[in-house]
């Protein structure tokens, strides 16, 4: 039984790991861009355009691409003194409590996902990639030109005239992330979630 659950769980873990890796790369990009901007502005008096928006974008990617892995690796902030005490003294109750907490967390993340997916759908829909708007001159030049035109129609983030970028990728990442977190929490309900805890002997207890 447990084996089967783990087999179903592993693809989700892989997805979380891939997302985590992308998020990690974004951190390096963020550091690099900010430094180029500081140097360009300080020495050459030529600030980069759109750094502000890029910072927000990269923050969104870092946080939401890494959140599922945070949940998977039990790193989400909690104060588990009482829980660990229960798991050590009354294993049955402690395990039940731990599963109950993960169930609540899973349901809550599912609520966010339910509320958030339409946000992404609307934002993506605002580009009208599939069917262009009825007003304005029709776009000439095939699929690529159509997509380009769509890209400029999207709901954007930034200051018009200086730097704007479509906002739907961020919305997608958030919706994807909270959904995956919810799924991971539900798996934890079934698999139990024993976190190795510190005992007074400084050894890892299970």
């Amino acid at each position: 039984m447990m084996q089967t659950i783990r087999r179903f769980y592993s693809p989700f873990v892989s997805v979380a790991l891939v997302a985590n890796t992308i998020g990690t790369v974004v951190i390096f990009i963020l550091v690099a861009i900010m430094n180029v901007d500081v140097i360009a502005r300080g020495i050459f008096n030529a600030p980069l355009r759109g750094v502000f928006e890029l910072v927000i974008f990269s923050l969104a990617l870092i946080v939401f691409l890494q959140l599922p892995d945070v949940v998977h690796s039990n790193r989400l902030t909690r104060s588990d003194g009482f829980l660990v005490l229960m798991q050590n003294r009354f294993p049955a109750f402690g395990s039940l409590l731990g599963r109950g907490i993960d169930l609540i967390a899973g349901i809550f993340m599912a609520c966010i996902a339910y509320a958030y997916w339409p946000e992404f759908v609307d934002s993506y829909g605002s580009c009208r990639f599939i069917a262009g708007p009825e007003f304005g001159a029709p776009v000439e030049g095939g699929l690529l030109a159509e997509l380009k035109a769509g890209w400029t129609r999207c709901e954007y983030y930034g200051t018009p005239g200086i730097f704007t970028a479509p906002w739907f990728p961020v919305k997608f990442v958030i919706a994807f992330s909270v959904t995956l977190c919810s799924i991971i929490f539900f798996f934890k309900v079934f698999m139990g979630n024993h976190k190795p805890a510190l005992t007074d002997d400084g050894e890892k207890a299970t």
């Binding site: 963020l30 923050l59 890494q66 989400l76 902030t77 104060s79 003194g81 007074d200």
Partner: protein, 436 residues
């Protein structure tokens, strides 16, 4: 139930859930969600609040300080800057009774200016300073206590994750908070050192019996240069950059992270693999802090919805409580919460409740932030949930030193923090004077 009752009940519910072990952001989120649902008798509105809150954690430019300063802090720990400052300080204070203790405090204060986390300080200095103090016959309680006590400096002396979090809740500038943290951090450092010197004179047995000192050769000028210049350069870039207005706090974080990376690469103290692990660690810390902040913003809008801060205001007004009474109440509340919650959660739960009150009383919001951060930090040293003490216990790997010893050793330092806190409350100029 009236909205105010629901609001008040929800605060209690959050504290209970967190104590039971519910993930802190989930506890904040679930309780706020349910409270809004009950108040409006409609889940749709609550779902809309959720939708807005999800984005809240990531759509603020100044949040980029969190990953950037985290990268910087992790890299400087890897590059061994903490050990270097400690060695130099240790030479400087060797002639004084309790010199290693003083060096630990001093090194922590300097190290705090390049890291934003007490946890980093606690784990670095447990490895360096505790074995050294033990080998020179310092008592185990003093040895771990001094490390625990001074690790708190990491979150008061900027850059500090807690000052960043406060600046979000209170909607003040991160740069201002950083500058306001400098003088209180120095005062606390001096208070710790003064205490060690006084105890060394009056009751040397508290420090240990027959405490000795190292007999090795003095450091050459090159060694001193090599061990201090990287840290001083980082402090100049980060704090100097912010203070002079050259850099925003976000840019200072990026420049500091890059400089720390260059130092680590020059010293060959980091491999590609180590760098990758550092980045993953950074991402995990960032994701958990910002998700916590996002859910705290939901909580704070729920409180506003229930009009709880205003009611608290009116409630305290009917009892004619003056400034002193309110502050006593506030500090006691934080000390109580400090025994069950971590620092970030205390700030996120308590500040939205009290900030309106402070503003109506005409107090500086920045000063209030320093008071809050130090007050909440005392909890790092007190049982049952003193995170700094746990980290030290986990790092030390010596069955002879029990968790109890760490807590008892840290107690005098927690008490000194409380005295400094009272001083800072009485003289707000100590915190905000630097801004003028």
């Amino acid at each position: 139930m009236t909205p105010v009752e629901i609001g008040a009940f929800s605060v209690v519910a959050i504290v209970v859930m967190v104590y039971m072990g519910v993930y802190i952001p989930i506890a904040l989120g679930v309780v706020s969600f349910v409270s809004i649902w009950i108040m409006r008798e409609n889940p749709i509105i609550a779902l809309n609040f959720l939708k807005v809150a999800a984005e809240k954690g990531v759509t603020s430019y100044s949040f980029a300080t969190i990953p950037l300063f985290t990268v910087m802090g992790l890299l400087v720990s890897k590059a061994g800057l903490g050990r270097d400052i400690y060695i130099v300080m240790n030479r400087a204070f060797r002639a004084v009774t309790g010199g290693i203790g003083i060096a630990t405090v001093g090194a922590n204060a300097v190290f705090a200016a390049v890291t934003g986390s007490s946890i980093a300080s606690a784990s670095v200095f447990t490895r360096i300073a505790v074995p050294e103090m033990r080998s020179f016959n310092y008592s185990k309680r003093f040895a771990v206590g001094v490390v625990a006590g001074s690790s708190v400096l990491g979150m008061i002396i900027p850059p500090s994750a807690m000052l960043i979090i406060y600046s979000f809740v209170a909607e003040v500038s991160v740069g201002d908070m950083f500058l306001a943290g400098i003088v209180p951090g120095i005062i606390l450092t001096i208070a710790y050192i003064a205490w060690i010197v006084i105890v060394g004179r009056l009751r040397p047995s508290y420090l240990g019996t027959d405490i000795g000192m190292a007999e090795d050769d003095p450091l050459s000028w090159f060694e001193i240069f090599d061990k201090t210049v990287p840290t001083l350069a980082l402090i100049t870039i980060v704090l100097g950059g912010i203070y002079n207005g050259w850099l925003t706090p976000v840019e200072a974080g990026a420049a500091g992270a890059m400089a720390a990376l260059i130092i680590a690469l020059i010293r060959r103290s980091i491999s590609w693999r180590g760098l990758w692990e550092t980045a993953i660690e950074t991402g995990h810390i960032t994701a958990s802090i910002l998700f916590l902040i996002a859910m705290a913003s939901l909580y704070s809008s729920m409180l506003g919805f229930a009009a709880l801060p205003n009611q608290l205001n009116a409630f305290l007004a009917t009892y004619n409580l003056g400034f002193v009474e309110v502050m006593v109440l506030y500090v006691v509340l934080m000390l109580f919460l400090g025994t069950i919650l971590d620092t970030a959660s205390i700030i996120l739960i308590v500040v939205p409740l009290f900030i309106t009150l402070m503003e109506t009383m005409g107090m500086s919001v920045i000063w209030f932030g320093i008071v809050t951060v130090i007050g909440a930090e005392i909890g790092l040293l007190t049982p049952p949930l003193g995170i700094s003490c746990f980290v030290i216990k986990a790092t030390i790997n010596d069955p002879d030193i029990k968790l109890k010893d760490v807590f008892i050793g840290a107690l005098p330092f927690a008490f000194i923090m409380l005295l400094v806190l009272i001083l800072l409350i009485a003289y707000p100029q100590l915190s905000i004077g630097i801004l003028n």
